[in-house]
């Protein structure tokens, strides 16, 4: 009979909901760290998460006060936020509280209290006796290729493997008879074990929470792999339930051994009434003070941005007689490069759209044994694009070779390869260059290979995936993208489609540097496929019939922007017409300049580079960083991201936003009902919001929600990192990625009529949740009046920016020479 107090299935479900949901590192994608709380309002979620799991969920009172002193939190904004929340009559009192009151700032979590009682009662060091062994077994079982002698496995999964090993060996993982006999019971249940260990059903679920949350890294990884087994190339069957059973048996085993079989269940030893984990967490004055500070911090920035946008009223970014157009990813790292290109060629136009360019498919490189997803995480593609022709050359490196750990070859390689290592190390420190240990975005696809873009036979499939797109699919795909960004007329001679990726070395989180919209892969394949489709005469013809007339001489050209190195590479440029080849050559010069300027602008945050040097010199140094073993920050990735602009480029073309904005081009006038907008928000909400929140939480609590410093990280089984040999896995972002980040929520800025936007966001429950629960702040710019409307409690209310004047700047890249800290918004004077 199922017990009433403890329902195993229910408890497991709950656990999996709250455990970290980070994929194995090769598939690292940004997501909201506190996804489990997303059904609550942001401020409530923070309170609950903090009280339940002892997370630090915002900056501390002192940090906010420090920001205020540095004028990063503005006085007028703070006053405004206090009044908005507490009313004018309480403003003075609250201001005093915010500045001076001493609050109890301890972060106390409910989690773990039962476990502590347990440890105190038995005086057993659980970490030493149980966890280290558990981690070792788990890591060996899940290992994807570090170990040479693999874990012998049983096809039925984790527990059966251990059971079988126990049977087929003369030693054991367990020390006591009881442990050995328990593991051999095939139908053992969690409840049975808890009966031995705890014996008070009321505590069972809580005990499991305390137990699993004392090593959330491994538990979260197991729960993720259980859900998505194909995230491992070397398939392993495992479930959280199996792991819990093993852990419980190990615990019983440790007690058996320690007390020689003479011990009693916990509830018979002490009386325990731990605080209920899920109980209400009441709002206190301290919480409210932190909320006000946080909002003031956010609006101190938002306000400048909105003030800037208002100033853009009447401007247009549309140009006649375009030289070229370039489509980039919405990624915040593409915002500055677009600005530099536009500055150098006043007649070009740039656009932003999610970097998979509306195409969802799996990609299989030439010679590859697997295919990999290149579209946003939530989508399950139905198509496969295969690379044909020359495969990317994979160079080998003896230092990663298993031979160095071989009984005989190990010694030989020590006395031979060893001296090569000395030379390599010397070379890399004093003159870094590309090597097989680096991840390069250009390795995603060969430079001279071709792709199976078109599908002419619907039977042409592989693994239930259709190889290539049919003509109809191609037409819709192209149409959707160019319509959504508002590029339907005035085509230039060349339309560049530029995906992006990153290059780095000694970087365990390398997929996080690639395109988020391509599931942590470079966007080159998508860009190339899209260009091929758009260049197809039949597609052009169909589009003309739909009223989108792309001149015959216009050609689309796919490329890749390496955001770490600031390099461009273009595919199929030999297919350009002679005339276009010539203008492409000119454009390349512009790109090269723009890239160097961009490198210079980025360099203000780089300690190792003197930003006053010429852009070209700096560019070379930036390239070197990407291949330097000793450089833990090859680029700063999404750090400081805080905006997402959905609208015409004219909204922010004249603003210096310092690479903090995702920007999705969108022309409201082509989409009166908001149908296209819905598609954009469905993608941009979770993708940009996920990135933003992962940065937020990794920044405010780098220890529990982030991965801590990456310097001591040790790669575990190719799936995760831990500190040293015995630690738990560390999900989240390492300190080096987030240290310059300002933890503020994303401000989504949409250009459209408020009522249209309101109707649109309500059409998708999941997307609406991001806004109504304020995990992402939403502001609408009225296209006619440029008034700003803030979304709060389900409706839009007008907001008048407090900032009236913004500073102007002529050459933003010059700021790099003097400024290291976060910059305000500037108007760009041309």
């Amino acid at each position: 009979m199922d017990s009433v107090l403890f329902n195993e299935e229910e408890a497991l479900k709950k656990l999996k909901h709250y455990l970290p949901a980070q994929a194995p590192l090769k598939d690292f994608v940004h997501h909201n760290t506190l996804h489990a709380f997303q059904e609550m309002k942001f401020e409530d979620a923070l309170r609950y998460a903090s009280r339940m799991f002892a997370y630090k969920v915002s900056l501390s009172m002192d940090e906010y006060r420090e920001l205020y002193k540095k004028h990063r939190i503005r006085e007028d904004i703070l006053e405004d936020r206090i009044i908005k929340r507490k009313g004018k009559e309480n403003a003075d009192e609250w201001a005093h509280k915010l500045f001076h009151k001493d609050y109890d700032t301890d972060i106390k979590g409910r989690i773990g209290s039962l476990r502590r009682k347990w440890e105190r009662a038995y005086k057993v060091d659980v970490h030493a006796e149980v966890e280290i062994k558990l981690f070792k077994i788990l890591n060996s079982y899940l290992d994807q290729g570090i170990s040479i002698w693999k874990f012998p496995t049983h096809p039925d999964g984790f527990l059966p493997s251990i059971r079988e090993l126990e049977n087929e060996s003369i030693t054991s993982f367990f020390k006591s008879k009881k442990g050995k006999s328990l593991i051999k019971k095939e139908d053992i249940t969690i409840k049975e074990l808890l009966d031995i260990l705890i014996a008070d059903e009321e505590l069972y679920e809580r005990y499991l929470f305390d137990q699993q949350f004392s090593h959330p890294g491994w538990s979260g990884m197991v729960s993720f792999i259980e859900k998505k087994p194909d995230s491992l190339l070397d398939y392993r069957k495992i479930s959280l339930k199996d792991v819990i059973i093993l852990e419980l048996i190990l615990e019983i085993d440790a007690l058996e051994k320690f007390y020689n079989g003479k011990w009693k269940a916990l509830s018979e030893v002490t009386r325990v009434y731990p605080l209920e984990l899920f109980n209400e967490v009441t709002m206190t004055e301290k919480h409210e003070a932190l909320v006000i500070w946080q909002e003031a911090f956010e609006w101190s920035y938002y306000d400048q941005v909105l003030a800037g946008i208002i100033k853009m009223r009447g401007k247009t970014s549309k140009k006649e007689n375009n030289t070229f157009q370039a489509l980039f990813c919405i990624d915040d790292r593409e915002e500055p490069i677009r600005r530099h290109i536009e500055n150098l060629d006043l007649k070009c136009e740039t656009y932003g759209t999610p970097g998979h360019f509306g195409l969802a498919f799996y990609y299989q490189p030439s010679g590859g044994n697997f295919h990999t997803k290149v579209c946003p995480g939530p989508i399950t593609p139905l198509h496969l694009i295969k690379e044909i022709g020359e495969a990317v050359k994979i160079t080998k490196d003896i230092h990663f070779s298993k031979a160095t750990h071989h009984p005989i070859l190990g010694a030989l390689s020590s006395v031979s390869v060893g001296f090569l290592s000395a030379f390599r190390l010397f070379a890399n420190i004093f003159s870094p260059s590309m090597s097989p240990s680096a991840a390069s975005s250009f390795q995603h696809m060969g430079k001279s290979s071709s792709l199976t873009v078109e599908n002419t036979d619907s039977k042409h499939t592989q693994d239930d995936l259709q190889i290539g797109y049919t003509l109809d699919e191609m037409i819709t795909s192209v149409e959707n993208v160019i319509k959504s960004i508002g590029l339907v007329k005035d085509f230039g001679d060349i339309v560049y489609i530029i995906g992006h990726g990153g290059s780095s070395i000694n970087n365990t989180h390398y997929p996080g540097y690639d395109c988020g919209a391509c599931s942590g892969r470079p966007g080159s394949v998508n860009a190339r496929v899209f260009s091929t489709m758009a260049n197809d005469p039949r597609v052009r013809k169909a589009l003309t019939e739909k009223g989108i007339d792309i001149p015959e001489k216009t050609q689309f050209l796919g490329g890749l922007h390496d955001t770490t190195r600031d390099d461009f590479y273009f595919y199929d440029d030999d297919l350009l017409s002679e005339e276009n080849k010539a203008s492409h050559k000119n454009n390349l010069i512009i790109f090269e300049k723009a890239l160097a300027m961009n490198a210079k602008e980025r360099s203000r945050r780089f300690f190792s580079i003197d930003s006053s040097q010429s852009p070209e010199k700096i560019h070379e140094k930036v390239r070197n960083r990407s291949v330097s073993l000793f450089e833990p920050r090859p680029e700063l990735n999404h750090a400081t991201n805080s905006l997402c602009i959905v609208g015409r480029h004219s909204l922010n073309e004249g603003l210096f936003l310092d690479g903090r904005a995702f920007s999705n081009s969108y022309d409201y006038s082509l989409d009166p009902e908001g149908d296209l907008l819905l598609g954009i928000l469905n993608a941009a909400g979770p993708v940009c919001g996920g990135i933003n929140l992962e940065y937020y939480f990794s920044r405010v609590d780098n220890q529990k929600l982030g991965a801590g410093s990456k310097l001591p990280h040790n790669v575990m089984g190719l799936i995760g990192v831990s500190n040293g040999l015995e630690g738990d896995l560390r999900p989240g972002l390492p300190m080096q990625m987030i240290e310059v980040h300002d933890p503020i929520r994303l401000l989504m800025i949409v250009e459209h009529y408020p009522d249209v936007v309101l109707n649109t966001i309500k059409r998708n429950e999941a997307t609406y949740q991001w806004f109504i629960n304020e995990w992402v702040n939403l502001v609408v710019i009225h296209p006619d009046t440029y008034d700003t409307y803030v979304f709060k409690e389900g409706e839009f209310t007008i907001y008048h920016p407090l900032k009236k004047l913004l500073d102007t700047v002529t050459n933003p890249e010059d700021l790099a020479e003097s400024e290291e800290e976060t910059l305000p918004v500037y108007l760009i004077q041309k």
Partner: protein, 622 residues
């Protein structure tokens, strides 16, 4: 030319001292000083070696630099230079320079930036002293420096639980090696009747004469050297510390635990080879030890699923082979092997984060998943058992920890019911009583004079074990350790006529250091009410200065060369006669436990997760 040897110690000392006074925030100055120091050292070593080669590899010895001299005892520093030194010095200088250059950017913005560079330079200083040392006393000084800085580097992330726990664990194994070296020095002293210079081993006839005169001492000497070497080089049964030392930033793990530090055991064997070469039993023991370590370590390396663990075990396996090479007299091979292995493993560690990129890419193109089923049958049973044992690292970690830590703990716990107050009271009364008795010692019978010291020492040892398991009072725990030293001194006084100066140096050093420690704790007490020894409290988070003060006190108490206690302890050892084995054992155990107790105290009060939770803190298991 030989006087130039001093500069290899002077350069790193100077760099270390300069950086001590550079303010924390000055990253650029700190790294510049460090890089210039290491660069200079590298260039100096390089040029020196060239001249040395041109001069046809002469063996060089500096004059003895006397630190302390009495009729029966002399402690002096001297340096020597030969092939072994040349290789170790060159490899060390090369790696230290590169790693420092590497860390310049790598450590940027890391809290503890200055601490990192200072500890590395301090370690490097110790390394150079060891490599250049011409006698065991000099080597011991370097050995201690290297040991303490290793402890600090392993526990670099001092507000996390695991690094601190492992640092303390590893320190306890190191302490064993320290004591083994002390005993070896003692044995050497009695074999030669003076503090031996290593080049005396080269005289074949003299060595064999001395050995035949003192066979048991010679064996004891060799065993102690072997224990010290096995500990430092992570040979059986001490293998497990090396992978657990990989807790600091990757470059520090690369330079120390897979290269320089781990190969010091080999150096120790090379240095003493001409001595134990005369003892076939020791040679066989070394070969067997090296071979078994090799087999165990290489299988463990092959099942390791964490990259740093794998590299660590591979390094250990190679060092096992080097032990064999040294024992067989293949010294050139051993030196080449050392250099290659040190370079290879440190580079492998430095690029270890890249393994994901590299292997995943490789797998994507060439990997075909295949399962490794569990096979049945007797042979497979054995295979599976070996797999499981390797997964558990042959339980070596548990075994060493049990022996070094839990055994003392359980003894100490047995005496827990006697309160520390009573214990101190009895001890003090005893001290006075026996001290009084000392004036009449001529009237005591021989047996009495033999039993009394042992009794005193046993009681003293008990005190320090009790201090080691103390969970409440810090001050009383320190007091117990000081008392232990008094007991040792008193026991010695009963056997030997010891000049008051020698006792003064010894007890004065210990007491003075203890006072510094107590002062630090008192200072801390002003603001922190609850300080005990029950668990980690991480007070270095708020009191970094007090922490340094207390650490210096600690080091002084257990005989680190920062106070006269270091000298005193060596002197005291000298007074133990070759026939007083029980005496020797008890004193050694006391020193071992004192070291453990002091470092435990330091770690529990100042290191580990901070007890206050107003800031972010890592999970205990992270």
């Amino acid at each position: 030319m030989k006087d130039l040897l001093y500069i290899f110690v002077l350069i790193p000392s100077l760099g270390f001292l300069i950086n001590l006074i550079v303010p924390k925030k000055e990253e650029t100055i700190l790294t510049r000083v460090a890089t210039i120091t290491m660069g200079l050292q590298f260039i100096a070593t390089f040029i020196f070696c060239i001249f040395w080669i041109i001069n046809d590899f002469p063996s060089l010895y500096t004059k003895e630099l006397s630190l302390f001299k009495s009729e029966s005892f002399e402690l002096f520093i001297d340096f020597s230079f030969d092939k072994i030194t040349a290789v170790y010095l060159l490899v060390g200088a090369f790696l230290a320079f590169l790693i420092t250059a590497y860390s310049r950017n790598y450590l940027h913005r890391e809290s503890g930036f200055k601490r990192f560079f200072n500890t590395i330079m301090f370690f490097y200083l110790g390394f150079n002293i060891i490599v250049l040392s011409g006698n065991l006393a000099t080597l011991y000084i370097g050995w201690e420096i290297a040991g303490v800085s290793s402890f600090l580097l392993i526990g670099y992330y001092r507000n996390r639980y695991i690094p601190v726990k492992n640092a303390v664990k590893i320190f306890s194994v190191y302490r064993l090696a320290d004591v083994a070296l002390l005993i070896a020095m003692w044995a050497g002293h009695h074999i030669w009747h003076k503090n031996i210079i290593i080049n005396q081993f080269d005289n074949y006839n003299s060595v064999s004469e001395h050995i035949s005169e003192h066979t048991s001492l010679a064996i004891l000497f060799s065993i102690c050297i072997l224990v010290a070497a096995a500990v430092k080089s992570a040979q059986l049964p001490f293998c497990s510390w090396l992978p657990r030392a990989m807790e600091g930033p990757t470059p520090s793990s690369a330079i120390f635990y897979s290269s320089l530090s781990a190969h010091l055991g080999v150096l120790l064997l090379l240095r003493t080879y001409h001595f134990w070469d005369h003892l076939p039993s020791i040679k066989i023991a070394i070969i067997v030890l090296g071979a078994t370590t090799f087999i165990i370590a290489i299988t463990t390396a092959r099942i390791q699923s964490s990259i740093k663990g794998q590299i660590a075990y591979s390094a250990i396996a190679q060092i096992g082979l080097m032990f064999i090479e040294v024992a067989l007299g293949w010294h050139v091979i051993a030196l080449v092997h050392f250099a290659g292995n040190a370079f290879l493993r440190s580079y492998q560690l430095l690029v270890s984060p890249s393994i994901i990129t590299y292997l995943i890419r490789e797998q994507f193109y060439s990997f075909v998943p295949k399962t490794t089923p569990i096979k049945k049958g007797l042979i497979n049973k054995l295979r599976n058992s070996i797999y499981m044992l390797s997964l558990k690292e042959w339980n070596l970690d548990e075994i060493t920890h049990q022996a070094l830590w839990n055994s003392f703990k359980s003894i100490g716990n047995k005496f827990h019911y006697i309160s520390i107050k009573t214990l101190t009271f009895i001890a003090t009364v005893m001290l006075f009583f026996f001290f009084g008795g000392w004036f009449f010692k001529d009237n005591f019978g021989d047996i009495c004079l033999q039993i009394l010291p042992i009794l005193l020492l046993s009681w003293g040892l008990l005190l320090s074990i009790r201090a080691f398991t103390e969970r409440k009072s810090v001050q009383r725990s320190i007091l117990l350790i000081v008392l232990n030293n008094f007991f040792i001194a008193l026991a010695l006084v009963y056997c030997e006529n010891i000049p008051i100066l020698h006792i003064g140096l010894y007890l004065g050093g210990v007491t003075g250091s203890a006072l510094i420690g107590i002062l630090a704790i008192r200072n801390l007490r002003k603001t922190e009410k609850k300080i005990n020894l029950a668990g980690y409290q991480g007070h270095c988070y708020e009191y970094p200065r007090t922490e340094i003060l207390f650490m210096i006190g600690c080091l002084g108490v257990f005989g680190f060369p920062v106070s006269t206690s270091f000298l005193g302890m060596e002197l005291m050892f000298g007074y133990i006669h070759p026939n007083q084995i029980a005496f020797l054992a008890l004193v050694s155990l006391s020193l071992l436990v004192n070291g453990l107790a002091m470092i435990r105290m330091y770690a529990r009060i100042f290191l580990g997760p901070h007890i206050k939770s107003y800031h972010e803190s890592a999970q205990r298991s992270a």
